[in-house]
Symmetry: D2
Subunit: 341 residues, 4 copies
């Protein structure tokens, strides 16, 4: 059993914790939290040992009826590997601690590539992880782009990608961030940083990205165009997606035409926390124009798509499973991830 | 086993179906749908026999891979009782069919009181149901009001209620309804119709309600003020709520101060469809001013709070369980409803 | 003086009416309204004779203190030309009336091209209007696309256009339409109908468009990519825009990075109804990649950009001004339209 | 001519500047800005001398084509009185500077009462201002409450006020603040601080306030209930409002039932920046229940209602006009403020 510590029990951390707990070859040895909150009660509910950064706050936790197992360093010491799910930029500050303790660690996409020196996606570069102490699971948007670009690149070759990302403004429970009524260029300059981020995993891909932020909380929506190297048909592209274990197809007959309706569907399916772990490609949108020009819309659940990637990344860094497809299969089976469609 | 048909498998119907299926003394003998949709796939996923209004659409369902068990009339005939969860106003049109077939039926709050002739709330008037063929579970807002007013009326007597309801504009998956950026008076005249609706269950309560619609999807928020007949303290009021099986307390230590954060919490709890079946009273807001003036904020999950009431209403109409508290206990236990807090 | 009737005094009609009234060669001989509303009070405030469809409603208007000049047919008879600004689809029903009365008429983009048989944009095809009885000013989105595509096509040649339109969900005062929290594919299939609509004005342009709807009210945002026929530089492209009387540049130093901030700026400028009549191209976004690949973001004010086009279309259909640049100059001067930047 | 300096040229400052410039007895001698922005361009457009806090930034302004008149201290020295419209909390830091320079100053509602030691509303306590060096114009919400409470208190006596304020989440151009999809209790405890703030102007009023924040940008909406001391009728109350120069009535015939539609109306009226300077009381909502219980909804334009109050406060502090009604009349006339309805 791989002993996993979750440093940062928030939007991503709480999901990774449950995903780890569901795996046959891993266990959650602790999660960390800086202050009393609803999520601390959830950690207690789940039975995860709760560690805190500042033991001076222990009385506040205990007053709220939440037991504290110790400080974060104690948790880290007990772990084989750390999933750092702290807010963007904090991972960089934590890295020296992991180095000092000699612990393997996984950072999230809120950190720069350089913090880990290696950026990860299960389908694209699993086997490159083995000799690294650190890895970074690229951001939700980059993960979604890497999956679909890599799949089509393997099948048909990709000459150029042009993607417009319409991003959710805040997560559903983040009541402070806006915008309320605006489309915000993010950034106003072109291209955005997302293309170079995709290149940390797929260095040879020629990609231009643009991004806006809009007042929605449920999922990002990508409009993707790729110039393919080989001519193909819509049917062949759909087959590639059908055969991909982390690309789902939102079938036309379902009548789902928005991120909100897609989230309702994953909720109805009983997915934990309504998570869409896979890319949500809208079947109706999948188009090949002029033989080589691919188009589609895909929904990316910002809270969820990196969760299975973190699980695979644990195995890849630990070296316990050599075959990426085997790890992906194990992860998906344990989560109950059968791509929609 | 009470054979229950769910006529209308939408926002409420799909929740009631799962709640019925979870009870030890009931079974879902069918659900109905008018056209192919994501929810039809969910009915299939759950294994509920699917009936359709117009058999002419059977080929469309079958083409989408969804088996059709028959037409709606066949479903109704096979049932002991029907939960009518069709859109507001359709229930009225369905009533003659239920009369013709001699079936008991439960309508939702989108219908007028007169459609059923009896309006229901489990805590307030369970035992009045027995001799009725029809009952109406009052709307989400009225259910939330009735629960808290009845609880305080039993404990302290209520001389007057003044409630301002800030309503969600649309359900999360309803992408057509607004407003996008507005506070809409609904209605602009005072009082709103909610007070009289509460009076269909609690006729003696003196109540004035006001309502607005705002651009949110998660839950309604009620601001409630009551003039109590007896002096009391905040602590005694909190005790009343703690002892009520369908009033939850959002504890101050949780740091939850909005409907969105509360929904994140029920999602983290693993509640099916993130449902808050109980009233979500904010502990911090519970106040007694000048000895007799009660104030609080409560969140009401428009999709969920009527679900357990429908279950109790089934037993009440069927006469199979005489004691309201016993039915409430059975319903809550089967759902896993332990009021938060 | 050209006698102009405005049939439909709503979002577009009220703006066109004021724009007509500001021109030296036109006058508003009447506006029409179907029922008493805030806009009827505004018509009275402005002193526009108000005509109504159904004289039976005259008492309701008079009770509200609003004088009625007569019925719509009387207004039409008194006009040289009609600007039909009725809701989408109503124009088609009105066309036989204009034919019967032998009146020239201008329809809006909510009507199909076939309703007028000729689709108009001042910069692109002013001189083709002269022999037509009817013209259609293309929709706000198409007008915005036509302006920028035509400008670059004239300067550098355009081989292919790929545009992703992120559309506002509703106008600011439309409190019924959503979405509240969703990104809606509109349509989910690719391409959208906007490309063919651009082709009604610029038939030779090779264009693929995609569209989504988001919860904002202020302006649409276009992400545009064009393959140019000639190599060029960012500076040359900026010069084209600077020299275009209906393309504005949102300068980087202004710090405006959203539709909301741009609207605040036009409001601060004192523009009537905060109207951005020109395209709002974000200077910072204007990019030439690899010599021939153009990119930019542009904001399109859905309520405003067609207003000056309607004015020019009046002159073009009436044949009173032969030179498009002269009409555009007259229109802009009367409105005070000096493109931002 | 009173020489007025506007320290802070943002949402409030730019409106107060234009209002000052419109008065016959005042002039804007300068406005201040900390960095280059769209508003700096507007100051230039209006011809207001622009002063900056840090002269080191002068080159940045000049590069953007904006002339700098000097530093803020130079502006303050040249003024008879300062309107401090800096962000909340900055006014407190500025106070010692005003003291040092011996300048009268007006703070906004973002500052605590203690910063000025005197809180102002033109109708309620104009004549108390004269011997003060400093005054604070209470916040938009408090101004709106004070106006209506004072009016009814004068007419009928007010025994108790209960107000629920549903607040806009952010101003239209503030794209960073949320919430996007939430109703946020602000605060979750009851009562909110607004009641005590009203008491800084009307100390004898017995008032309980509650507040929530919702995802809208246009205006706040107040639900107000008052126990009156004398019996009255709806008609008498409407007369009080009709006779009040800063309480407008949104007439039922206008069909306006939301803050968004009300803002469209002020925009159509051609009000500068669409400003609703007066309270917007919804005629239809004005109710008297049981003879003494008053109810209504009122819209409060957060950006605008304090603007005329600042103008009156200038005269009150300077002592140039002794009669409040005369100052109010002058202010309203110069602004073109004729209360709607």
């Amino acid at each position: 059993m791989i002993k996993v510590a979750i440093n940062g029990y928030g939007t991503i951390g709480k999901r990774v914790a449950d995903a780890v707990a569901a795996q046959p070859d891993m266990e959650v040895i602790g999660v960390s939290k800086t202050s009393v909150s609803a999520e601390a009660y959830i950690a207690k509910e789940r039975g995860y040992p709760l560690y805190i950064a500042d033991l001076g706050k222990k009385p506040a936790f205990e007053k709220a009826g939440i037991e504290v197992a110790g400080d974060v360093e104690a948790m880290l010491k007990a772990a084989d590997i750390v999933v750092d799910a702290t807010p963007g930029g904090v991972g960089e500050k934590n890295r020296p601690i992991y180095e000092k303790l000699g612990k393997k660690a996984i950072f999230q996409g809120g950190e720069d590539h350089e913090v880990a020196g290696f950026s990860f996606n299960a389908h694209a570069n699993y086997n490159e992880a083995e000799n690294h102490q650190f890895a970074r699971v690229v951001s939700c948007n980059s993960t979604g782009l890497v999956r679909i670009i890599h799949a089509l690149d393997q099948a048909f070759g990709v000459a150029r990608v042009r993607a417009v990302m319409v991003r959710r403004g805040a997560d559903p429970d983040d009541v402070k961030r806006g915008p309320i009524d605006a489309i915000v260029l993010n950034p106003a300059s072109i291209p955005s940083h997302h293309g170079p981020d995709v290149n940390t995993v797929l260095p040879h891909i020629n990609i231009v990205t643009l991004a806006m932020i809009v007042p929605t909380t449920f999922m990002h929506m990508h409009s993707i165009q790729m110039d393919l190297k080989k001519e193909t048909t819509r049917e062949e592209v759909l087959k590639v997606f059908e055969n991909h274990s982390r690309i789902g197809l939102v079938r036309k007959t379902m009548g789902i035409k928005s991120n909100a309706q897609l989230r309702e569907y994953t909720q109805d399916l009983g997915r934990p926390r309504t998570d869409l772990w896979e890319n949500g490609v809208f079947e109706e949108s999948v188009s090949i124009l002029d033989g080589k020009e691919f188009y589609c819309f895909q929904a990316i659940h910002q809270e969820a798509d990196v969760v299975p990637e973190n699980i695979d990344c644990i195995r890849a860094l630990m070296g316990t499973v050599k075959d990426p497809q085997e790890s992906i299969r194990m992860t998906n089976e344990a989560l109950g991830l059968v791509a929609i469609g």
